[in-house]
């Protein structure tokens, strides 16, 4: 019964391409008359009869349709925007239907030589019998036998919120042809005429199938309804037909509903932790900020929220993601095959798609977990026109510190919050403006004399304009900033405040043009960066600290890009793109010149260059080619190859294994060249066992030049001339990623195994610039073996169980190998960099979701999540550290979450 209800509410819009020989001409002007009156008048003047139900048309009025001189033109206009369809048969019967279009069974076929055989008209009857599958037609049946293929396109929207739904797969199994809706929910397909079974699918949405009788090109707009509670899909997956269709090797789309079901750590759904389950993505340790994609360092990931980069993507130094999962609509990770509209980072792009407010009604969600509490509110301000969404999350962990007896911990505090807001305004059908804002804040206090805090702020204004149904544009301006502040009065005479700031303002123009078999994207972006590397100031008047402000850095980065996705044949498609970037480092700046015969240090400075404000210090740039080829061997498998080059002008200076809280951002300058990455990847994808299983294998090889490392033991805080401490290194990485997934049914699972290696080599000239005698050595995040297994069992729509297991090789580490005395002090000496490894990592998490009563979801829909993180209680090594203990150096291993961590989260929608 329920199923039927849903199918009835599925509504389709269709505009029929009219036949050339329209015979019912209407000359009178019916502007303003009701539909019933119109019918009466038309029936009296023309040989037609209308069939409909009064209740369907009671609100319909005929408008002023200019240039409408035919009956069908008026019908098109008056029915557009409703759920009604009409059909005029040869006998003058005008049949109006609600929710579905009438299947035309005109079979008079004029055979011509140019006839393109329809895929299969014969199975139409059988398809019709599949109860609930909607049938519809596009084009004039008379054109059925015309030559050539036709193009259909349309928008896919969420039925409840009227939001466009990007990433929907439109797939025709029989032809193995498909498309994916773009960020406006728009899709386009080139098909032979005939009857096709189209399937629209998207994680978190009810699959929608329809039988299409295609006679000519046209528009097919589809509304999809979301599943009531997010129990339907539970696996992070590049969707099955998407996998075959996408051009990129290594693009993964994560839907929010899928990752919300993943086992949580401390009760929080966490986007970065979900990303870590994707083959090829690793982290150096539990709770370390950032992640490493295919052998790239953590600062080589472009994390975009509202189109702007987030400079610190974590709370609590990495235990939580900085972005509240409540606002996430979907997340796309490009491990490779980065589209040319993205640039500025080498390894990956993590594009977080943010939700828009509900267009129909007020809705909300709130929840509480052991560490945090969150609330989200959304709804229309003007129905269908102006909507808002507001989410907030905060911790209440401070009271835990207050309860601890230890005096230094008793006075310590740790907390964070984040707030997201978005306003969306539809000026009209073709113009849409939205404004988004985000702020996050972390604060720590240690023993009442030392504080540390950091903030992210993002503002973005975006204007989307649809020139027509095949040409879109999006213009946006955004600002993202990050700062941290440390202050300490531990030593009163040296009480200090230290701060670091990075600020970027970007202007982005993207154009999206569907031209026959081509999808052309082009655009430009321009970003201004300002970095305040460090300000070290006295905390109060009694402090003797000399105010020290390291000179600000500024630079402009500009890019122009164009790419074209086109179908060479039905089986071969190509995406060729180029991104041209230019980077200008500008003054004012004081640049030290060093004796070229000696290693750079303060004592080898021979001269100083002074650049005036706005004066060009250095220019970098060049073309970045992005090429992908997708070869569909059959409808069950495909082969892809791809190459891309990326450049990075902004670097995070990190001298530790993981991103440290005090790491600073640095722009390319006189000495620091942009990092350049080249990646080649091959992928093979296959659907198995009636498409219930999906298997893929990807291999990649990557080269990175101008990476940054540091001379041994350097402290980077308030380092004025960083170039003297930098060691230039280059990297190479390669790997094989294997995935097998079962994506249908009550039991679903996926197994991913990655073998990957990442190596680094120093390329300096002087002894202190050479690491490990100039030989290749494993990077900090080189973890060759990585296995991720996820398992989901959906008992019912109310109860589901999910679990995941990960195992990986331990990360490399530099061990102390010997101790000795220097003026009676015991000190240690170390092995070659990263010569040893910490023990293997292994963890099993489970979680059980229990939903409340489904029927009451309109009032308040509660659900509970019970989860256990690290169920096996394995003491995974987080870090190994060495401490001098009087006359002996001892090693210790520290494991965070070294025992099972249970948590309960309570959420409810209202």
């Amino acid at each position: 019964m329920k199923l039927k209800f849903y199918l009835l509410t599925i509504s389709l819009f269709i505009s029929l391409q009219l036949s050339a020989q329209e015979k019912y001409r209407i000359s009178a002007n019916y502007n303003g008359v009701s539909f019933k009156e119109f019918v009466t008048k038309v029936e009296s003047t023309l040989p037609v009869r209308f069939f409909y139900m009064d209740e369907w048309v009671k609100d319909l009025k005929i408008g002023d349709y200019k240039d409408c001189s035919t009956l069908s033109c008026i019908m098109d206009n008056v029915l557009s925007g409703t759920t009604l369809f009409y059909y005029i048969d040869d006998f003058g019967n005008v049949v109006i239907t609600n929710n579905y279009a009438v299947k035309v069974t005109n079979t008079t076929v004029d055979k011509t030589n140019k006839y393109v055989p329809p895929s299969d008209f014969s199975n139409s009857a059988e398809s019709q019998r599949n109860s609930g599958i909607t049938s519809m037609e596009i084009g004039n049946p008379a054109e059925k036998n015309n030559p050539g293929k036709v193009v259909i396109s349309g928008y896919i929207t969420n039925k409840d919120t009227k939001d466009p739904v990007p990433g929907v797969t439109v797939f025709i199994q029989k032809l193995s042809v498909g498309a994916i809706s773009n960020e406006y929910g728009f899709y386009t397909l080139t098909l032979p005429r005939g009857i096709h079974a189209l399937k629209f699918s998207f994680i978190g949405m009810r699959d929608k199938s329809l039988n299409l009788s295609l006679y000519g090109g046209g528009e097919l707009n589809v509304e999809m309804s979301s599943v009531l509670i997010p129990l339907k899909e539970t696996v992070i997956s590049a969707q099955k037909s998407v996998t075959l269709q996408r051009f990129e090797v290594g693009a993964e789309k994560i839907n929010i509903t899928s990752f919300k079901l993943l086992p949580t750590s401390l009760g929080e759904s966490d986007i970065i932790k979900s990303v870590l389950l994707i083959p090829g993505v690793q982290s150096v340790g539990e709770g370390s900020a950032g992640f490493n994609v295919r052998g790239g360092s953590a600062d080589q990931n472009l994390i975009l929220l509202y189109g702007a980069p987030i400079y610190n993507s974590s709370h609590f130094f990495g235990f939580f993601s900085a972005v509240n999962s409540d606002i996430i609509k979907d997340v796309t990770l490009y491990k490779g095959g980065i589209p040319s509209r993205y640039g500025g980072r080498i390894s990956s792009v993590l594009d977080i798609g943010a939700k828009e407010g509900n267009r129909n009604e007020f809705a909300g969600n709130a929840g509480i977990s052991p560490i945090t509490t969150h609330i989200s509110l959304e709804g229309p301000i003007i129905k269908d026109t102006l909507t808002y969404i507001l989410t907030a999350r905060t911790t209440y962990s401070n009271w835990i510190f207050g309860m601890i007896k230890n005096p230094s911990l008793h006075n310590s505090r740790a907390s964070f919050y984040d707030v997201n807001g978005k306003l969306t305004y539809d000026l009209n059908k073709n113009n849409k403006i939205d404004f988004s804002a985000y702020t996050s804040h972390d604060a720590f206090r240690f023993n009442s004399d030392t504080t540390y805090s950091y903030n992210n702020n993002i503002y973005a204004l975006k204007w989307r304009h649809f020139f027509n149904s095949r040409f879109f544009s999006s213009l946006s301006i955004n600002n993202s900033s990050y700062r941290y502040d440390v202050s300490s009065q531990f030593v009163p005479a040296e009480a200090f405040m230290l701060s670091h700031k990075v600020n970027s303002t970007g202007f982005v123009a993207d154009f999206n043009w569907f031209l026959g078999r081509n999808e052309i994207n082009f655009g430009a972006d321009l970003t201004k960066y300002t970095i305040s590397p460090g300000n070290y100031l006295p905390y109060n008047d009694s402090s003797l600290v000399i105010p020290n402000r390291i000179q600000k850095e500024q630079a402009w980065e500009g890019a122009l890009y164009i790419d074209d996705k086109f179908l060479l044949t039905d089986y071969l498609s190509l995406n060729v793109g180029m991104r041209m970037t230019s980077y200008f480092a500008l003054g004012p700046q004081k640049v030290m010149l060093y004796d070229p015969e000696l290693s750079k240090s303060n004592s080898t400075i021979i001269d100083t260059l002074n650049y005036k404000p706005g004066q060009l210090i250095k220019r970098y740039g060049g073309p970045e080619f992005r090429v992908s080829l997708n070869f569909r061997i059959s409808d069950k498998n495909s082969f892809k190859i791809n190459y891309n080059r990326t450049r990075q002008y902004l670097h995070l200076l990190s001298n530790s294994t993981s991103i440290a809280p005090t790491d600073t951002w640095k722009l390319s300058d006189y000495y620091l060249k942009p990092e350049v990455g080249d990646q080649v990847a091959l992928g093979f994808y296959e659907m198995l066992f009636r498409n219930n299983f999906e298997a893929s294998a990807e291999i990649y090889y990557k080269k990175i030049s101008n990476m940054v490392d540091f001379k041994g033991g350097t402290d980077l805080i308030m380092d004025e001339n960083i170039e003297k401490d930098i060691v230039n290194v280059r990297g190479k990485a390669y790997g094989l990623e294997l995935v097998l997934k079962k994506t249908e049914g009550k039991i679903r699972y996926s197994v991913g195994y990655t073998y990957s290696r990442t190596f680094v080599q120093s390329v300096g000239n002087f002894s202190d610039e050479i690491i490990n005698s100039g030989k290749w050595f494993p990077a900090n995040f080189d973890k060759p073996n990585d296995l991720v297994v996820t398992f989901n069992y959906i008992f019912s729509r109310r109860i589901s169980l999910s679990s995941n297991y990960t195992w990986s090789t331990g990360r490399p580490i530099t061990y102390p190998i010997a101790t000795y005395y220097v003026s009676d002090k015991l000190v240690v000496t170390y092995s070659d960099r990263n010569k040893y490894r910490i023990p293997d990592y292994s963890r099993l998490d489970i979680s059980l979701k229990v939903g409340g009563n489904l029927k009451s979801h309109r009032i308040a829909h509660p659900y509970w999540t019970f989860s256990v993180y690290n169920l096996l209680g394995r003491q995974n090594v987080y870090s190994i550290y060495f401490k001098k203990d009087y006359l002996i150096v001892r090693g210790y291993k520290l494991s965070v979450f070294g025992r099972p961590i249970p948590s309960v989260t309570f959420n409810f929608d209202f």
């Binding site: 370390s288 190998i817 210790y892």
Partner: protein, 382 residues
């Protein structure tokens, strides 16, 4: 400093999340120990300077040093002089104070030649200038009370020792300090060797960079903290502080050494690596050298602490001394028990006479721990 604070915060956080997650761990490594360790300091003090050569020892092993004998060492200056160092103890090579005293402003270079398995290797340091150093303004202490400790126990007190210095010429930006502690201790029994002195060297790196501060001024630099759980503060305590001025290269050497020595290996700690020495092997650049050839003028200051501090002595507890109380026994071995005993109390009057014995010689003779020769700088009692 900053990183340490943040490491502490993180450690506090992780301890909250997991109470018993730190376990001791000694990594297994497979490295040879054939590196040359050089410890050398040339000052302007009129004394014999020592250069020590050794091999490093395995991690986790306590204090097993491997001195290197039979090497040739000399120091040359920029005036063309060369001073030979002769081996006075295994691995320790000393200068002749009548022939060689450091002069401010001169530039010195260390030369080492080793000859093992008929393979002569010559090492040479980077030339280092002997820089002047300002005097220490003051060394002083503050009494601190530790409130930490289990309930019901008396509070523990201690002394925190600080140093102030400044350079009127505003030249000396980088400082290093070494200190030598000496304290008197007494056995609580009337035994012949009842009062002794014990000395200890600073075992952490004490450096300070004043280039971020307006004046070349060091204010209240915390040198060390002595708790009353040792017997340092029981009778009389003295600390001698030597101050050295460093050039920036040497300062960075010590700073890096400090960065990677105190606590390393955590996720936010600087990735450790060997710190390059200022001594290199001329014959074979692949030979690793550890240590540093330091050259600096030095100034010094000594203070005494004779104050009363509260607290329980945890080391050298009197109760551990007493073995038994016997009537009529003497010093020396007790044959039938196969142990040595010493008389720590010999009570004769009023009768009955008895003796208290100990099996710990340190309870009977303070020279087991220290020396009974009063240091010549010692002022005050005895």
């Amino acid at each position: 400093m900053l990183m340490k604070i943040i490491s502490k915060i993180l450690l506090a956080l992780s301890i909250l999340l997991c109470s018993s997650c730190v376990t001791e761990f000694i990594p297994k490594t497979t490295e040879d120990q054939e590196m040359l360790v050089v410890e050398g300091l040339i000052t302007n003090r009129p004394e014999a300077y020592a250069i020590k050569l050794s091999r490093p020892f395995h991690l986790g092993l306590n204090n097993v040093s491997h001195p290197l004998s039979g090497c040739n060492i000399s120091v040359s200056d920029d005036k063309g002089n060369s001073f030979i160092f002769s081996e006075t103890a295994p691995g320790t090579y000393t200068s002749d104070p009548t022939k060689f005293q450091g002069v401010i402003g001169r530039i010195y270079t260390l030369h080492i030649s080793t000859n093992f398995t008929n393979n002569v290797l010559n090492y040479q340091s980077v030339p280092v200038q002997l820089k002047p150093v300002p005097p220490i303004d003051s060394v002083y202490y503050e009494k601190v009370t530790f409130t930490e400790g289990p309930d019901g126990f008396p509070s523990q007190q201690g002394a925190k020792i600080y140093l102030d210095t400044h350079d009127p010429a505003n030249q000396c930006k980088f400082y290093r300090w070494e200190y030598y502690e000496t304290w008197e201790f007494r056995l609580p029994y009337m035994v012949p060797n009842n009062t002794c002195w014990l000395s200890n060297n600073s075992d952490v790196i004490n450096i300070k960079n004043t280039s971020a501060i307006a004046e070349a001024k060091v204010d209240k630099y915390p040198l060390t903290l002595i708790t009353n759980s040792t017997d340092r503060l029981r009778e009389r305590y003295s600390i001698m502080v030597y101050q050295y001025s460093l050039n920036e290269d040497e300062y960075l050497y010590w700073e890096k050494l400090q960065n990677i020595s105190e606590q390393v290996g955590g996720l936010y700690d600087i990735i450790p690596s060997s710190i390059p020495s200022n001594i290199n092997c001329i014959d074979d650049p692949n030979q690793k050298v550890l240590g540093y050839f330091s050259v600096s003028a030095s100034s010094s200051k000594r203070i005494f602490i004779h104050d009363n501090f509260a607290g329980v002595l945890s080391q050298f507890n009197d109760k551990t001394c007493i073995a038994d109380t016997v009537f009529g026994a003497s010093n020396g071995p007790i044959a039938w028990l196969g142990v040595n005993v010493w008389v720590i109390i010999n009570h004769t009057a009023p009768p009955p006479s008895y003796r208290v014995l100990t099996r710990t010689k340190g309870c009977y003779d303070c020279t087991v721990r220290g020396t009974n020769i009063k240091p010549d700088f010692w002022v005050g009692d005895k």
